[in-house]
Symmetry: C2
Subunit: 306 residues, 2 copies
């Protein structure tokens, strides 16, 4: 992109043109976002970001739609990032997700974006971080980051959020086992969705028991029961999110999280750039079967000594 | 570790001392494996490695135990790597897994190792790659790599294996959705475990339908029904694994996979070393909120220009 076209894009973005926001995010996805982020990052820093994760089928999209409705009724401008790990088999789910958000499609104060690209140097997490930063800079005040599954990507993406909601489903039996390493550790608020299920109380007890085992410092995760389809419990969830935001602000934790998030983003970008260089060094190097020696040679060829 | 102690370890390893193998793997886990791998890597290259992955509860451990039994009855020396993503909540599962392998505990020709460390520079996948390489160098001929869940780590770890088995469970309903991005794409053999389940045939049809959608070149994944607890279908699975090994050899694909695996391992080690350097550069750098600029500064401080 020429400098002139970038300047035009930045201007349109500053003037509140949602198409410019969409275009800026696309540039980041394809690895060309650096100049746009350089021009706009200073506008960010005001949004509340909420990550929603949990096993498939738990009702994350319904929960997300209910939170968007709540945020809109509180007068907030809203962004939704729907994270799709690019599986050919998750398109159906994603389509379903978007249908649940359909009531917000015509609302100019709700910006919905799904992330599926792998072109970003920092991977999906890097592209999502850029999208959240740009939405924030655009003036969106409540940003929901919804993930399609529960895996490594989701842990990384939850690290972008100020408040992370882990949704669980009663009666799924192996809900605890399904949770991947680290998923439990990142929860700020647990949601027991489908609270009308006969096993809902048991799941709440199980979560409380797990929380008792974990050693939390500062914030202890709250447990909220919802029936997102009917809107039940959404007010309580909203209040838990606000209490968590208050805790972050009063404890100074918010600044620590912001720094961590930033370092995480820098790391992802730097690692991506280096990956391309290492790839080249590997391709031109010899292969005698000793991976440590080959790694040392590849690094040495980049001028990096250990 | 002193050079003398490393030389002693390498000698004991060459003499077939299983404790030396265990110690060498531990060194790799803690990031100190380079000299041991340098001395031993040339002995590797003869093992058949089989990865077993799939959603929790599908019976991976039972399947793994049945394959170990089969390999032993074929006279092969066996290694088992059980990959635990270090969640405080997966210890129970891991314990259960090991119980299923209990009949092999006293067999000197079965070496069982669970990987949980995060000390390895290349992460869990890097440590697992080292363990597989060392077991191979030790003379183990059949190496089963079993993963506890189905996520990003599992995709990386499956890349280490010559043959990847994806196990699925009938009647789990969302079995397809549960599969994370990339999991389907890595399968060489699908196993429908618990084949006595009334939904088993439906799951086989679903898998075949999915295979019809995918565009495979060369090897088309086989679908095998097992009832691992009873040993049913294990012979058929073993034959599928052998057909796949034959395909790899005859097509020359095995050499391509070996090179890819090696590059993957080098990449993991190099990335780990660089991560530590980038971390230092980030810690000493300034933070004005532009992650791309900060990444460029961090790289420049390492002498890397873009």
């Amino acid at each position: 992109m020429t400098e002139q076209r970038i300047a035009d894009l930045v201007n349109a973005f500053r003037n509140g043109d949602a198409r410019a926001l969409a275009r800026a995010i696309s540039l980041c996805e394809s690895g060309e976002g650096a100049p746009v982020v350089a021009a706009l990052h200073a506008l960010a820093g005001n949004a509340a970001t909420v990550g929603i994760t949990g096993p498939p089928g738990v009702g994350k999209s319904t929960l997300c739609a209910a939170l968007v409705r709540k945020a809109r009724s509180a007068g907030r401008r809203v962004g939704v990032i729907s994270v799709d790990p690019s599986s050919p088999f998750s398109h159906g789910a994603l389509l379903g997700d978007r249908i649940r958000l359909a009531e917000h499609f015509t609302d100019p104060n709700v910006f919905i974006r799904s992330m599926a690209s792998r072109g970003h140097l920092g991977g999906l997490a890097g592209a999502t971080a850029d999208a959240a930063l740009l939405m924030d800079a655009f003036g969106l005040e409540f940003i929901a980051i919804e993930t399609v599954g529960a895996g490594q990507n989701e842990v990384e993406i939850a690290e972008l959020a100020q408040t992370t909601i882990v949704a669980l489903q009663p009666g799924s039996g192996d809900s605890i086992q399904v949770l991947k390493a680290g998923i439990l550790e990142i929860a700020d608020v647990f949601v027991v969705n489908k609270s009308d299920h006969p096993m809902a109380n048991q799941l709440r007890r199980e979560i409380r028991a797990m929380l008792g085992i974990m050693q939390y410092e500062g914030w202890v995760p709250e447990v909220v029961a919802t029936q997102a389809l009917e809107g039940d419990g959404i007010d309580a969830l909203w209040e838990a999110i606000e209490r968590h935001a208050l805790f972050l602000n009063e404890s100074g934790e918010i600044e620590r999280r912001r720094r961590e998030r930033f370092a995480h983003q820098v790391r992802a970008i730097a690692a991506g750039r280096i990956r391309a260089l290492v790839e080249r060094a590997i391709a031109t190097g010899s292969d005698d079967g000793d991976p440590y020696a080959a790694a040392a040679r590849a690094l040495a060829s980049l001028g990096i000594q250990e």
